[in-house]
C-alpha cells in the first residue's frame, strides 16, 4: 500500500530529475529560465522512436526484446543517436536564437520570452510531423514482478532507476572533478571574472547545451519506455522540472536530482491518496511552498 507509490514516484522522479539538471544548469550559467527545455525531452524521445523504428525495420533481430526488458537492442542504439541529435538540436536553437539575443545584449526576460516562443514552435512541429496520437517503442506488455511484499516493479522501471542514479553520479563527477566542469562552475559564479582568467565562455555554453540536451533526451526516452510518447509530454513535464530545479537550488546538480525524486514521490502519493486528476497541481504547490519558505532552495545560495 505504501511501498508501491514509493516505487512509482522514484521512477518518475528520476525522469524529472534528469530533466531538471538541464534546467538548473541553463539557469545557473546562461541565467534564464528556459521554457523550451521540456521540448528537448519530447524531441529526444521522438528522435529515438524514429531511429529505433528504422533500425528495427532494417535489422529485425534488433527489435527482439533483450532479456527481461520490453525492448530490443534497437532502443539503446537509438538512445545514443538521439543523445547526439538532441544535442545538435539544442546547439542549433542556441545558434539561431539565444546566442543572437545574448550577443545583442538582450536582458534575461527577453531570453525567457524567446524560449517560450521556441517551445511553442518545437512542440507544434512535433505534432505536425508525428500527429498528436501517442506512440510506443514496443507493443510488448511487461508483467511487473513482486520484489518485496506489496511492491511490484517491471524490469524497465528498475532499469530507469539504475540508469538515473549512474547518470547523476557521472554528471556530478564531471562537474566537480574535470577541468570543463570547473570552468562551468566558474562561469556560473562570476562570468566576467571567469572570462578574465581565460576561460572560454563559449565552450562552456556549448557544454551546458550538450549536457542538458543529452540528459533531457535520456529522460524523454525513459518516459517513452515506461509510459508513452506524446508531443505534449515535454509541456506536461515543464512545471515539475522548474519545481525540482528551484527546490533543489539553482545550479545544484545533486539538488536537482534529489528534488526531482521528491517531486515524483509527491505526485505518486497525491495520485494514491487524493486522485490522479490533481497530479499536475503538485508541482505548483511545491513551487509556491519553496518560494514562500526558502526561495534559494535546499542546496542553493541566497540570491537577491
Amino acid at each position: 500500500m505504501m511501498l508501491q507509490p514509493i516505487m512509482d514516484g522514484l521512477v518518475n522522479g528520476a525522469i524529472i530529475g534528469l530533466g531538471a539538471i538541464g534546467v538548473t544548469l541553463t539557469y545557473a550559467i546562461l541565467r534564464f529560465a528556459n521554457f523550451a527545455h521540456g521540448e528537448m525531452l519530447s524531441w529526444g524521445a521522438y528522435i529515438a522512436l524514429t531511429l529505433s523504428g528504422l533500425l528495427g525495420a532494417l535489422l529485425p533481430a534488433l527489435a527482439t526484446p533483450i532479456g527481461p526488458f520490453s525492448f530490443g537492442w534497437s532502443v539503446p542504439i537509438a538512445l545514443v543517436g538521439s543523445v547526439v541529435l538532441t544535442s545538435v538540436l539544442a546547439l542549433a536553437v542556441d545558434w539561431l536564437l539565444f546566442g543572437r539575443l545574448r550577443a545583442s545584449g538582450a536582458v534575461t526576460i527577453i531570453l525567457v520570452m524567446a524560449s517560450f516562443g521556441a517551445a511553442l514552435a518545437l512542440r507544434n512541429l512535433l505534432e505536425f510531423i508525428y500527429t498528436s496520437s501517442p506512440a510506443y517503442f514496443t507493443n510488448a506488455l511487461q508483467i511487473s514482478k513482486q520484489i518485496l511484499p506489496g511492491l511490484r516493479a517491471t524490469p524497465d522501471q528498475l532499469l530507469v532507476l539504475g540508469l538515473g542514479a549512474v547518470l547523476v553520479v557521472l554528471v556530478h563527477l564531471l562537474l566537480t572533478r574535470s577541468a570543463s566542469g570547473r570552468s562551468m562552475r566558474a562561469v556560473s559564479e562570476d562570468p566576467q571574472l571567469a572570462a578574465l582568467v581565460g576561460i572560454d565562455t563559449r565552450a562552456v555554453i556549448r557544454m551546458v547545451w550538450i549536457l542538458g540536451a543529452a540528459l533531457a533526451a535520456v529522460g524523454g526516452i525513459m518516459s517513452g519506455v515506461i509510459v508513452q510518447i506524446r508531443p505534449t509530454m515535454g509541456l506536461d513535464l515543464l512545471l515539475p522540472l522548474f519545481a525540482a530545479a528551484i527546490l533543489g537550488g539553482i545550479g545544484s546538480v545533486p539538488g536537482a536530482m534529489l528534488a526531482g525524486l521528491f517531486v515524483g514521490l509527491a505526485e505518486a502519493f497525491t495520485v494514491q491518496f487524493i486522485g490522479a486528476e490533481w497530479r499536475a497541481a503538485v508541482s505548483f504547490v511545491i513551487l509556491v511552498a519553496v518560494l514562500l519558505l526558502r526561495p534559494q532552495g535546499i542546496f542553493g545560495k541566497a540570491m537577491a
Binding site: F32, A33, F35, L97, R100, L101, S104, G105, A106, V107, T108, I109, I110, V112, M113, A114, F116, G117, A118, A119, L120, A121, L122, N124, L125, E127, F128, T131, S132, L235, L238, L239, F242, A243, I246, E277, W278, A280, A281, S283, F284, L287, V288, L291, L292, P295, M303
Partner: protein, 327 residues
C-alpha cells in the same frame, strides 16, 4: 452585403475583446517589464467568475446568481486581479523570471481546476447560457451584432482612457523609471516591489475584464478555450503591435486576430478534415517562429513605444534591448 457587415461586426467584436486583454498585458509588460506566461489562466478566471455570477440558476451546478452583466464583468476583473496580486506578492521580491514560472504554473492549475471542480465550473463541458448583452435584440441579427460591437468599442475606449490616465500620471512615470533604472528610482525613495505589484494586479484586472466580456459575447465557455495557445496569441498581439504602446496593443490585437481567423479558414478549406489538426499545429509553429523573429529583428514591434522619454539606442549601447529590468 448585409451578411458581410454583420460578420465584420462579429469579427471586430472578438478582436476587441482581445484588445482589452492585450491592454492589460501592456500595463504588465510594456510599462513595467513583468513577464506573464499565464494569461490564459487569468482570462479564464475572469470569464468563469463572470459566468458564475450572471448565469441563471441550474441544477447540479453551484453558482448561477442571475446578476446583471456589469456585476459579472466587475467580478471577473476583480477575481483575476486578486489572483495576480497573490502571485506577484509571492514572486516579485525574487528573481525576475520566477514570476514567469509562477504564472505558468498558475495557468496549469487553473486549467486543472476548470476541468475538475465540476460542481462549480461544469467540468470539461464548461458553462453555457451565459447572458449576452442586448439579448432581446437577438432576432434582428444586424442590430444585435452592431449593438454588441458598440459595447465593445466603449469598453476598449474606457480601458484605453483609464490606462492612458494611469500611465501618464506620476504613478505611471514611477513605473517607467523603475523599468529603465531601478537604482535611480530607489534612490528617489520609490519602493519597486510595491509599484510593480500594483501594476501587475491592475493589468490582471483588465485581462479578467477582457475574458469576462469575451465569455458573454460567445455565450459559452469551456476549459479548452483557455489553453497556452491563448497566452501565446495575446503575446503575439502585443509584441507585433509594439509593447509599451497602447494603440499598438489594440492594432496588434485586430491584426493578429485577423491573421489567425484568415489562416484558420484557409486551413479548413485547403486541408481534408482528417489533416486539419496537423495543419493547425503548423499554424502555431509559424506564429512561434515569427514571435522569435520579431524579438530578434524588430524588438519594439510595429509601432514601438511612443510619447515617453526612452533612451535612444546608441551605437555603443545595445540596440535590441526591449525592456530594461534589472535582476
Amino acid at each position: 452585403m448585409i451578411e458581410i457587415l454583420s460578420y465584420g461586426a462579429f469579427f471586430l467584436t472578438m478582436a476587441l475583446t482581445y484588445a482589452v486583454i492585450a491592454l492589460g498585458l501592456n500595463l504588465q509588460w510594456g510599462q513595467t517589464g513583468l513577464f506573464n506566461v499565464g494569461i490564459a489562466g487569468f482570462v479564464a478566471v475572469g470569464a468563469y467568475v463572470s459566468a458564475i455570477l450572471t448565469t441563471p440558476f441550474s441544477d447540479g451546478r453551484l453558482g448561477g446568481f442571475d446578476l446583471p452583466i456589469v456585476v459579472g464583468w466587475i467580478g471577473g476583473g476583480l477575481g483575476a486581479g486578486f489572483l495576480c496580486l497573490l502571485l506577484g506578492a509571492l514572486t516579485l521580491r525574487l528573481r525576475s523570471d520566477y514570476l514567469a514560472i509562477a504564472t505558468f504554473g498558475a495557468a496549469v492549475v487553473i486549467q486543472l481546476a476548470l476541468l475538475n471542480l465540476e460542481a462549480l465550473t461544469g467540468g470539461p463541458f464548461g458553462i453555457s447560457f451565459i447572458p449576452r448583452p442586448f439579448a432581446d435584440l437577438s432576432d434582428r441579427a444586424n442590430l444585435f451584432a452592431f449593438a454588441n460591437l458598440a459595447v465593445m468599442v466603449v469598453l476598449v475606449l474606457a480601458c484605453y482612457a483609464a490606462l492612458q490616465h494611469l500611465v501618464r500620471s506620476p504613478w505611471g512615470r514611477v513605473l517607467r523609471a523603475l523599468r529603465e533604472d531601478e537604482t535611480a528610482a530607489r534612490a528617489l525613495g520609490k519602493n519597486p516591489v510595491s509599484y510593480r505589484l500594483q501594476a501587475f494586479a491592475i493589468g490582471g484586472c483588465v485581462m479578467g475584464l477582457g475574458g469576462a466580456a469575451q465569455g458573454h459575447f460567445i455565450g459559452f465557455i469551456a476549459p479548452e478555450n483557455y489553453l497556452p495557445t491563448l497566452t501565446f496569441q495575446v503575446w503575439a498581439m502585443l509584441i507585433i503591435g509594439g509593447s509599451g504602446n497602447m494603440r499598438g496593443a489594440v492594432l496588434g490585437a485586430v491584426l493578429v486576430w485577423a491573421i489567425w481567423a484568415l489562416s484558420g479558414s484557409v486551413v479548413s478549406s485547403v486541408f481534408p478534415a482528417d489533416q486539419q489538426a496537423r495543419a493547425a499545429s503548423l499554424q502555431i509553429v509559424l506564429i512561434g517562429v515569427s514571435l522569435c523573429a520579431v524579438l530578434l529583428l524588430r524588438p519594439r514591434g510595429i509601432l514601438g513605444e511612443a510619447g515617453t522619454l526612452r533612451r535612444q539606442p546608441k551605437a555603443t549601447s545595445t540596440p535590441s534591448e526591449g525592456q530594461n529590468t534589472h535582476d
